[in-house]
Subunit: 423 residues, 2 copies
Amino acid sequence: MNELITKIEDYIDRHQDDAVHLLRQMVQQPSIQGNEKGVQEVVINKLEKLNLKTDVWDPDIEELKKHLYFVPSRTSYKGSPNVVGVWKGQGGGKSIILNGHIDVVPEGDRLSWTHDPFSGHVENGKMFGRGTTDMKGGNVSMLLAMEALINCGIKLKGDVIFQSVIEEESGGVGTLATLIRGYTADAALVPEPTNMKLFIKQQGSMWFRVTVEGRSAHGGTRYEGISALEKAVKVHQAILDLEKRRNEIISDPLYKSIPIPLPINIGKIHGGNWPSSVPDLVTLEGRIGVGPEESMNEVKNELRQCLAQVSSQDTWLKDHPASFEFFGGQWVPNGLEQDHPFAKLVSSHYQELVNKPITIEASPWGTDAGLLGKVGGIPALVIGPGETRVAHYPNEFIDLSTMILASKLFARTILDWCEVSSN
Amino acid sequence: MNELITKIEDYIDRHQDDAVHLLRQMVQQPSIQGNEKGVQEVVINKLEKLNLKTDVWDPDIEELKKHLYFVPSRTSYKGSPNVVGVWKGQGGGKSIILNGHIDVVPEGDRLSWTHDPFSGHVENGKMFGRGTTDMKGGNVSMLLAMEALINCGIKLKGDVIFQSVIEEESGGVGTLATLIRGYTADAALVPEPTNMKLFIKQQGSMWFRVTVEGRSAHGGTRYEGISALEKAVKVHQAILDLEKRRNEIISDPLYKSIPIPLPINIGKIHGGNWPSSVPDLVTLEGRIGVGPEESMNEVKNELRQCLAQVSSQDTWLKDHPASFEFFGGQWVPNGLEQDHPFAKLVSSHYQELVNKPITIEASPWGTDAGLLGKVGGIPALVIGPGETRVAHYPNEFIDLSTMILASKLFARTILDWCEVSSN
């Protein structure tokens, strides 16, 4: 086995430049929402070179609509293909899904970038660009691991199912579509940017919108109106109090160093339309974190109760209660115990590879591991080579040697989990 | 004198229908900002029929810019004429300005109106429509008063200067332009909608914008950011406290029944751009009332100090203080004492006309009387036939008999103030 690993890792080391070239090709395709086709062609090309059976399809919104966990992020997914490549095993082994999203968030203000965000500029062992870290680099790690195993002539018992999915940044429609299409496995790896920490739990989240009514009046006689802003301030405080209550009861040691394990963020406020009129409508938009052990519905109910309570305690809100809805993004939480065989396997290979114990954490955000785990019932772990802190930021980068290290870890993991076949 | 008054009032009574017709013509010209030309042509036509010397000009922004009290409401006033009609006196008497703005605020949601807001629909002695009350009805009262005096063959010692001005709703550029052009008089009447109460003092106001900075972060790790909204809530509270302090010290009996004599209204709030990001910028826009005895600069300084204080008391705001600016609308306050000869004259004529004492109040909003009084040094009073409570609202209306009553009061006032000439 050790000899085999040496051979595989030697292959990976010798093909570093190819991997960097592949990553650059992928980064040069700006796969923001609705524009994923170009990069998927790069992926398909790579999968075909590995002689994998590829499955390419545009998720069908009518199919998706039938699913309980579908939250529409657009009106159609036409022209935004999902890509799956299956390396069929010889049978008798455990299968694995390698899941990486191919969509990237917009680059934002170009002036904040030192280099063109879609050039794949390399400097001092780092590649810069939108999507390098989140998470095309992780996808390349997986592809290189598969390539090494295949080109070293290995045959596995279990299937390896590589998934290049769309729409993770908007809630996971791409991964949901793979589940609807029937893809499943005995375990899943999602190499989101974790700095090679093992995120065994991931926080889910939901977006919500609260609407607070007032009554308009001229600013000069504002006492004749009711300021929706003053009422919204009360609602805002009630939400902060709810956040406090929700976090006080968290005892999981994984969260002990995190100031607010399950934050409720109010990210947007908008109200009123004239400086000298009393604002009669204020909307707040936010994101509520969902714990790995919580259900989306439980959390929806807590927020519902919180708003009902604050409304019942105010003379005006009693008759004009703050209303709310969930909309847009929704990320399902996920969690695996540390002693789950798949978690133990990944942890021990990491220890062997770098000669120090793996860091285990809970992520403050959701990933497609939530859908794979909670909805697909697949034990799913998140670990990847990207730099957590630069995801979604200007000058996003990935350390290329970490990408190679991740590739070695993934190769060992696949080899061990799916087992070498003697057939 | 009594005989003359009877003759004039008889004229007014006989020409009620003409006045209603004139008002309807004026209301049918939707003179929202930038669209005043049509209604001004109706006014010019009327003034020409009265054989008055008319002066029509588009206020020149370059001229205006040189004036301390100019607050630009647009980049040009081309195509938005001011109209002044002068009824020259025989000499030796006191002059009067009759000032009414011709601009109206937008009609808003048409579905909230029972009738077309620009039709001038009459029902049960009321005319409905945008601008009926605020303040084309008041302008018609003045025009009918002048017409009655002229057509009854009266000659006055003092000049009567009728002004149909633009831009009052945006801060008074039209009236400022009349001052710059040299128009002045010994007194001024401004028939804004007061329900025939005499507003001897008018609250001024200024618009301001406060900007509160935060630091962005992902909502899932919101403790790494600083919510500009949480800081803006502090600033909002400090502004409410300032309002309380400013109003506690008001002792003028005119304000004794008013809950908040000098309100500070926060009319707009806007902040953040993504539900799951910590908002890094929140802006508040509002209107601060300026008392009749206050200067604009004093009030600016109070707000400046308030914001400096709240910023100094917060660890984050100390280094990122809330910034602010004054922008857009600005209405100069105004005040006349009850025993001013002009106020006494109007009051006594009202008493004679309706057989009950006039109600004297302070208005909660500014009018062009502020510019006439504080800037032009002209003793200016506000009294008019419009319904205060429906100004700026859907289904705005004016009671037509009150418009006629106002016309009689104005005719008596002009006659007495400017004096009949025996020449």
